[in-house]
């Protein structure tokens, strides 16, 4: 049997086919990564089954109210959103009872929180508040916690929070536990 040489396949158009596919993927691709503020909702309990919560001292609660015109009322005072971050940091870092050994620059005011473990941020908004404002407030509150944690991480380990190991991160998180309580919105007007 005479062996016939196989004719060579012309691969000249391969590049064209690949280009075609490439352009298709270039057009359909969306490069945006999904990112956002992550929160955990409290489990649902019917109103009649609400358990009695132990009372919390008023000075340990940092009240933030947002009305339907997107104005802030923080601790019964009007406040600009730009000042919220520093006010929150000051409240969390107040160290009123002196038990917080790592709070630096604490004001130790008797009218503010005892220590970061007891400090609670209470957020309530109106049904008419815009989502944008709500996100801005959430962002500023989260930023206050993150900044305090970052500062502590720098002092304790000389590294940024993101560079720490998981145990070290948890230790820093326990030092400044993020407690943001959201009340159900009302019509404050």
């Amino acid at each position: 049997m005479a062996k016939r040489a196989l004719p060579e396949i012309n691969a000249g158009s391969m590049a064209d086919i690949a280009f075609l596919l490439l352009i298709f993927f270039l057009v359909t691709t969306t490069m945006d990564v999904d990112s956002g503020i992550t929160r955990k909702l409290p489990p649902w309990t019917p109103p009649e089954e609400m358990p009695d919560t132990p009372p919390v001292k008023k000075k340990n609660i940092f009240t933030v109210l947002v009305n339907s015109s997107n104005q802030l009322l923080v601790e019964e005072d009007y406040m600009d959103i730009r000042d919220l971050r520093d006010a929150t940091k000051q409240f969390l870092n107040n160290n009123g009872d002196g038990s917080c050994t790592y709070c630096q620059g604490a004001a130790k005011s008797i009218a503010s929180s005892d220590n970061p473990q007891k400090a609670i941020v209470s957020l309530q908004n109106d049904r008419g508040t815009s989502y944008k404002m709500y996100i801005a407030v959430q962002n500023e509150l989260a930023a206050a916690y993150n900044e305090l944690r970052e500062e502590l991480a720098q002092r304790r380990y000389g590294k940024t929070f993101d560079d720490l190991s998981v145990e070290e991160q948890n230790e820093i998180k326990d030092a400044y536990p993020q407690v943001i309580s959201e009340a159900e919105p009302v019509s404050l007007g």
Partner: protein
């Protein structure tokens, strides 16, 4: 002498394009791997607010999206101008949310169900009343991990 004469008749040689398909394939594979197909067509306006303290959402297969915003101009005549919820490809009511989330959760592998995250992609102009209703429905559906989808940027800007 003949050695030198050879050169004079030469033209510029054609550049070999033999490696062109390889280069193109390389690019092609890059885009094939990184691409995320747009699964749905947005029917609502979706200008997400800005924030700085954001985390990236990992594991896209475990994320369920809820779009909230004013209907786009083409749908104004059908559903009106009030902000609406969009689930997959259709407008939905708040009451339908619970069922939707439960169905989505059933579709996920049982071991990974607790990791499911609901991403709320709401327009900045939406009022909190609607967002709160959504959150209450999510609580009832026991889907507690949520993510407020935002863009990275300054929060103070108007």
């Amino acid at each position: 002498m003949s050695k030198f004469r050879k050169k004079q008749g030469g033209e510029t040689p054609a550049i070999s394009t033999a490696s062109l398909p390889d280069i193109v394939f390389m690019l092609l594979f890059f885009f094939m791997v990184t691409t995320v197909m747009r699964e749905i067509t947005l029917k609502v306006e979706n200008a997400k607010p800005f924030a700085t303290e954001i985390k990236k959402l990992e594991r896209k297969s475990l994320v369920t999206y809820i779009y909230v915003g004013k209907p786009k101009a083409a749908y104004l005549s059908q559903v009106g101008a009030e902000p609406r919820i969009q689930l997959n490809d259709a407008f939905a009511r708040v009451k339908e949310l619970q069922q939707f989330v439960i169905t989505e959760r059933e579709a996920i592998n049982e071991a990974e169900r607790p990791l499911m995250t609901v991403s709320i992609k709401a327009d900045g102009q939406v009022k909190m009343g609607l967002v709160t209703d959504i959150k209450q429905e999510l609580r009832k559906a026991n889907s507690l991990k949520i993510n407020y989808s935002t863009r990275k940027g300054d929060v103070y800007e108007d």
